[in-house]
Every structure is written in C-alpha cells, then in structure tokens.
Symmetry: C2
DNA sequence: CGAACTCTTGAGTGGGATCAAATGACGTGG
DNA sequence: CCACGTCATTTGATCCCACTCAAGAGTTCG
C-alpha cells in the first residue's frame, strides 16, 4: 500500500505499540488526533449505545490503516481482537503526507469506497437475513479472510486449495454476535445447526472446516 | 460542490432525464458505465436478495452525486423515490475530469467517508435497536433532512425554527421498512405507538410533526 | 484449587413477522 | 359523475424465531 519512502516518513513520526486482546486502541480523547497502522493482528471497530449494546461495523486484519486523516467525527471504539502490533500515527502528520501525494490519496479514496461497499453488504445481512443466513454469510466472509495457516502454507495468492477450507475464527461467540446483530447463544446454536446439517465441522470452538461450500452459499441466502 | 467550469464540462457529455417514482435509474447493465447527478428529488440505493428481500442502504436527496467513478462493482439498485431530475454522466468522462482535478477528488473522497460514517450509524440501528428505537432514530434523521416546506419557508440554512419540526416523509411505509429492516405493518404500528405517547403527531400519513424532540431522542436509544 | 472466561444446551417468553380484512385516496374509463 | 381497480395505510389475530434466563462443562491462569 505504501512505498518505502512513504513508510519511512510515517515511521519517523509514529510510535510503535504491542497490544493484547481487548485493548482499546483509541480513546475518545485521541481518536481525532491519530490514526493507526495495523502491522499484525486483528481489530474490531464498533459503534456503541449508552446502555452497553454494541455493533461491530468493521473487522480489520493486518496490514491495514485504521481511521482516515479526513474522517468525520464519529463515536467509535477500536479494540484489538488478537495480539496486535501497531503504529500510532499523528493525524496531522499523516494528513500532510497524504496531501503531498496524489496517488496516495487516490488509494485511500479507493479504500474508503471498498469499506463503504463492505458496510452495505453488512447492512443487507443485518436488515434482512435470518440468524442462520447471517452465520453462513459470516463463515463465507471469514473463509475468504482467515484461512487457517496449517493448510495452504505460505500460499499468498487468495486462490489456495479451497476444498479443505479450514478457517481460524479470530472472534469469540460474543464478538460474532456483536458483528451479526445476534446474541452469543444464538451464534452458538446456529453453528451447531450448520454442523448437524453437515455444512461445516469443528476441530475446536475456533477452528471451522467448510464441508460443503455450495450448500453454505445457499444457506447464506445469496 | 462543483465549480461552474466543472459543471459545464460534465453537462457537455451528459444526458438529462426526468423520472417518476419507482423508476430504476441504473440497470445492472449500465451501472458501471455511468454515474448520476441528482438535480431534484429523492432516490434510494438498495441491496437485493434473490428472493425479493431488500435493504435500502442509503437515501440521497438533491443535489448529490450517485455512484462514484471509482466505486468497486456491487449489486445495487438505484430507484427514484419522488419525481426526480437527473443527469446521466458516462463514467469514463467523469473519471477523467476527476483525475484532472485534485481538489475535486479530495471532495469525493470526503464524501465517501461521510457516506461510510452514515452507513455505520445505520448498522448500529439495524443490528442493535428495537423497532421503536429504529422508528425514533429514523424520524430524527428525517427531521434533519426533510423539514416541511410550509414552515421555515425558503430558509436554506439547516438551523430553521426547529420547534414546530414538521417533516414531509418522502417514503412509503414499505420503503421505511426496507430502510429499517422492518415490515411495513411494524412501521405503521410503531408510528401509532409514538403518536399515542405524544412524541409525534400526523396531519396525514406522510406529514409528521415532532412534538417532543427530547423524548424522541430518548426513544431513539441515544 | 479457585476465579474468570468461553462455550454449549435447555426451557420459557416476547417482539416483530405473517396472514387477513377493512378503509381511504387516487386516477381511469365508461 | 360514478364504478372500478390500484395502491397506501391501519388494525386485528396468530405464530415463530431469536432473546432471555439458567445451568453446567471445558479452558486457562494465577
């Protein structure tokens, strides 16, 4: 995403941090003062209601940039899901780098449009799909993003051996619920139902194997 | 949004159209061949499931630009909600204009980030709010966007006399349901409940008056 | 070993969906 | 002008999916 020169400029003004699961990466205070370059790990971006209900609006896996130097204010929480390595970049510094580099701004623009498209897909899921459809949709999404490292070792191209389709879920059942607008009990029950129907299999609670991708796609409702 | 010169450039390569409510503005065929400048009226952008379920992901009121010359492919439907006046702009033409104008691309970038923020707010609504909270949230949103023309005549600034708060809803009950992930019966019932509780009043089915903005905000759940 | 999590599973409830009917507004054509 | 069809809306009755409450097992960690 960045050239060596750009990376150097950014690193020069940033602070590197290692964070554990659950750590809030941006407090409400510094949210508009810095962006975060995600070097390793997975983070969740959530919107909150005052009574504690929350909705995960986006999952980000390294390498990626969280926040935008131009993003409008918004009440979001950013927390590590796994162990993670990050750079905290002062917003003004990032802004000036981006404003000096047309191509870089164009790339950020494209990424914002992709994020928007992803958010719209999730809107369809939350607004119109059943619990079973949401879980199936989620599994297909995760299968495209978190293929297990065991099989398809070091195969960087996305088109690895897809039949074994083993996925390492980075989220707890409760987090999956917060992502899909469900309770963790419903998530657990729908996983059990898909397993009983032979669409998936679990080696343990966090490792799923997709047994029948075609039927899983049907179960996802499109 | 655009300078006179930019508008002229765009108009030169565009075709103007008047469309009636319900008209599809972009078929699946030309969706990636053109963008739409909305001059008058309101349109809805929806995502569809094969069995007919749909989710409105965004409402756009004139003046605005629909689609982006850089947007990734996505299965969306764009339909007029009210009578509308539009320019259809060939995508390559718009793309070249934007690529020649840094400031213009920056503005499109900012708009994409605002759209993303709006989409995230809707995600919270669809994922975590009750029917009553969704309707209250929707009314507050509409009150900020579609203040009735009767009061506050020709007052372009958004800060008009807000107490009378009369709103002209551009959507049918079914469309409101497609926006909020509810059925039209539930929309109708929740409107009735808010009316019974004295938070709002109807002069007719499409014209709402906000009687108690404070309690409506509480009802919106934040 | 106990505390704190995570996950599963069961039982019962309730909010919103579904099915159904009636009303009113509107335009169209006889 | 009225009869008619269409569409938007409201309201009632019933159903069911997902939520809630609860219990227990498996884990990790101090």
């Amino acid at each position: 995403m960045l050239t060596a020169e750009e990376s150097r400029q950014i690193a020069a003004v940033s602070t590197r941090r290692h964070v554990s699961p659950g750590t809030e990466l941006m407090s409400a205070l510094n949210l508009h003062e810095s962006c975060v370059a995600l070097l390793r790990g997975v983070v969740k971006i959530s919107r909150l209601l005052t009574d504690g209900r929350q909705q995960i609006v986006s999952l980000k896996a390294a390498p990626d940039l969280l926040g935008s130097p131009f993003a409008p204010p918004g009440e979001v929480s950013v927390r590590a899901v796994t162990e993670a390595e990050i750079y905290c970049v002062p917003r003004p510094a990032l802004e000036s780098i981006v404003l000096q580099n047309r191509v870089l701004e164009h790339r950020l623009h494209l990424r914002a449009l992709e994020d928007l498209s992803e958010a719209e897909a999730l809107l369809l899921t939350l607004g119109r799909k059943t619990a079973r459809e949401r879980i199936a949709t989620f599994l297909l999404d995760m299968a495209g993003r978190f293929r297990s490292a065991e099989l398809g070792k070091r195969c960087d191209c996305g088109l690895a051996i897809s039949e074994p389709g083993v996925v390492d879920l980075p989220l707890t059942r409760a987090e999956i619920g917060d992502f899909l607008g469900l309770t963790f009990e419903t998530v657990s029950r729908q996983f059990a139902a898909l397993r009983k129907d032979g669409l998936i299999e679990f080696t343990d609670a966090r490792r799923v194997s997709v047994k029948d991708r075609t039927r899983l796609r049907v179960a996802a409702g499109c």
